[in-house]
Amino acid sequence: MKFFALLAVSVTWCLLIYAARDFPDFAVPDSPANGGKVSNYFLEKTEENSHVPNVVTAVLADYRGYDTMFETVVIFTAGIAIMAILRMTPGGSTGSGALPPAVPRRKRTFDGSELIVSGTCKLLIPIIQLFALYVIAHGHHSPGGGFQGGVILGASFILLAISRNLDAALQRLSEKRYLMLASVGVLIYAGIGVMSLLLGANFLDYGILSQILPATDAAMARSHSMLGVEVGVAFTVSAIMFAIYANLSTAGELKNGL
C-alpha cells in the first residue's frame, strides 16, 4: 500500500515538475497572471472608485463582495456544524457522550494560579485585543481587514482559555454571546447589501449608500461601507474561532476543557 502510494506520488511529482517548465518564471511582471486586465484594473481604478489605498481589502470587500459574504457564511456554517456534530447522539452508537480518554488524564496542577503565566496573559490580552481592533478598523489603509483582525480577536479569547481555564473565557464570551456575535456579523454584512438594494442599486453595490450616509460621495460611501462590512466579518470570524476552540477542546460540552 505504501509502495503504491509512493509510486503514484512520485509519478505525479514528475509530471507536475515537467509541466512547471512551461510556467512563467518567478517574479516576471508580464506573466499571464500579473499582466491580465482584471488585476491591473483593480490596481489602477481602486483609488478612483473607492479611495481605499489597500487594494486587497477593496477587492475583497467591494469588487468581490459576494465571494466574501458567502465566505463569512461558510465560517458561520462551519461553527454551527462543529457544534451540531459534537453534540449529536447518533442512533445505534455506543458513545456515552464524553470522550473516553486514551491516556488517563493527569491531575491538573495548573489552574490559573501560576503567577508568571496568568500575569503575562493578563497584560498581553488587552493589548492583543486592541491590536485586533486596529487591524480591523485600519484594514483599508494598511495590511489587515476583517478576517485577520477577527482571528486575532478570537485568539485573545483562546489565550484566556488556555492561560486560565475555559470557564474564565466563557464568562466573558458565553455560548449565547458568541453565537449572537457570529449571527450579527453575517447580518451586518448582508444588511449593508440589502440596504443598497432598498435604495435602488444592486445587492452590495455600496456607492448608492451616499444617499443616507452624511457628507459622502459615492466613492467615500464605498470606503465606509467596506469598513462596515469588515466589522461584520470580524464579528463572525472572532466568535466562530473561539467557538471552534471551545467546542473541540471539550468535545462539545463546554466544561473541563484544556
Binding site: 507536475l16 518567478f26 511582471p29 488585476s39 486587497v56 447518533p90 471552534i244
Partner: protein, 158 residues
C-alpha cells in the same frame, strides 16, 4: 549543465517547492493510517496551493515592487502644499492619478488565498469534529481499525 540548472530550477524554484510540498501532503493523505495524520497532510496540501498562488503574484524584487497598498494621499497632500492653494484638498483628492500597475504586487491572488485560508480553517475544524465523533464511537483514530470495526457491526441500516 549550469545553464540547464539555471533554466529549470533557479528560475522556477517556486514551482519546485510547491510541487514537493503538495506531494508530501498527498502522500500523507493516501498512505497514513491515522486520521489526524491525514488531516495534517491535507493542511500541507492546502499550504502548497497557497504558496503557489502567492508566488504567482510576485512581480519583482522588493526594491522595484511594493505591496498592493497605494500611497496616494500622502503624495497628493505634498502636492497641494507645494503647489499653493489653487486647488482644495477635496479637489486634489479626486484628481485621477496614473498608477503604474507594475509597481505593485498583483492583489488578486492575495484575495483569493485569503478566502482559501478561511475555507481551510473551516474544513479543518469540521474534520477535527468528525474525527472526535469517530473516536467517541470506535475508541480509535486508526483507519484500518475503524474499518474493521465497521465490518464487524451487524448491518442494521440497509
Amino acid at each position: 549543465m549550469q545553464e540547464f540548472l539555471q533554466q529549470t530550477i533557479v528560475a522556477n524554484f517556486n514551482y519546485w517547492i510547491y510541487v514537493t510540498l503538495m506531494m508530501i501532503g498527498l502522500y500523507a493523505m493516501i498512505s497514513k493510517n491515522n486520521l489526524i495524520k491525514k488531516l495534517i497532510g491535507m493542511s500541507i496540501f492546502q499550504t502548497a496551493i497557497i504558496l503557489f498562488y502567492v508566488s504567482l503574484s510576485v512581480k519583482g524584487t522588493t526594491d522595484e515592487v511594493s505591496i498592493p497598498i497605494i500611497h496616494h494621499h500622502q503624495e497628493e497632500a505634498e502636492h497641494a502644499d507645494h503647489g499653493g492653494e489653487k486647488k482644495g484638498a477635496a479637489a486634489a483628492h479626486h484628481e485621477p492619478h496614473a498608477i503604474d500597475p507594475t509597481k505593485y504586487a498583483n492583489p488578486l491572488p492575495h484575495v483569493l488565498m485569503l478566502t482559501a485560508i478561511v475555507v481551510g480553517v473551516a474544513i479543518l475544524g469540521v474534520a477535527l469534529a468528525v474525527s472526535q465523533l469517530l473516536y467517541k464511537d470506535y475508541g480509535t483514530l486508526e483507519e484500518s481499525e475503524i474499518l474493521a470495526a465497521i465490518k464487524e457491526l451487524p448491518s442494521d441500516h440497509g
